[in-house]
Symmetry: C2
Subunit: 70 residues, 2 copies
């Protein structure tokens, strides 16, 4: 966990396939997800996903298997 | 939600920045996260993130703001 002063908090998560994932919780509630590939540039994510609070909740629910819709 | 017979379940989530996110829950517990860019090829994700169950739980907890570590 890294405190980004004035901005938010960054969490880094190593994934099994040697990818790296960073999640930044911004102070205003938005989330940013950065995906880094193994062997790729550590400063250049292969994707950046921007989520607001509602979207983050939905993604989290799907990941946990607790999301249901009609 | 789309049933992928024999494979798992796919959830599509539209994001505010006109990105599209697809989460696939595989029957063996693994999750795949696909990020698609606005205006990009709908069949070619800009990133694919592979998560096992434990990693998915960790990412979900961070997104929800309920993840704490030392």
């Amino acid at each position: 966990m890294t405190e980004l002063f004035g901005i938010g908090t960054k969490y880094e998560i190593a994934c099994s396939r040697q990818q790296r994932l960073a999640v930044v919780l911004l102070k205003d509630g938005r989330r940013e997800l950065y995906a880094f590939e193994a062997g790729g540039n550590a400063d250049e994510p292969s994707a950046v996903i921007h989520l607001d609070e509602e979207e983050a909740r939905r993604v989290a629910a799907v990941l946990l298997g607790t999301y249901f819709q009609d």
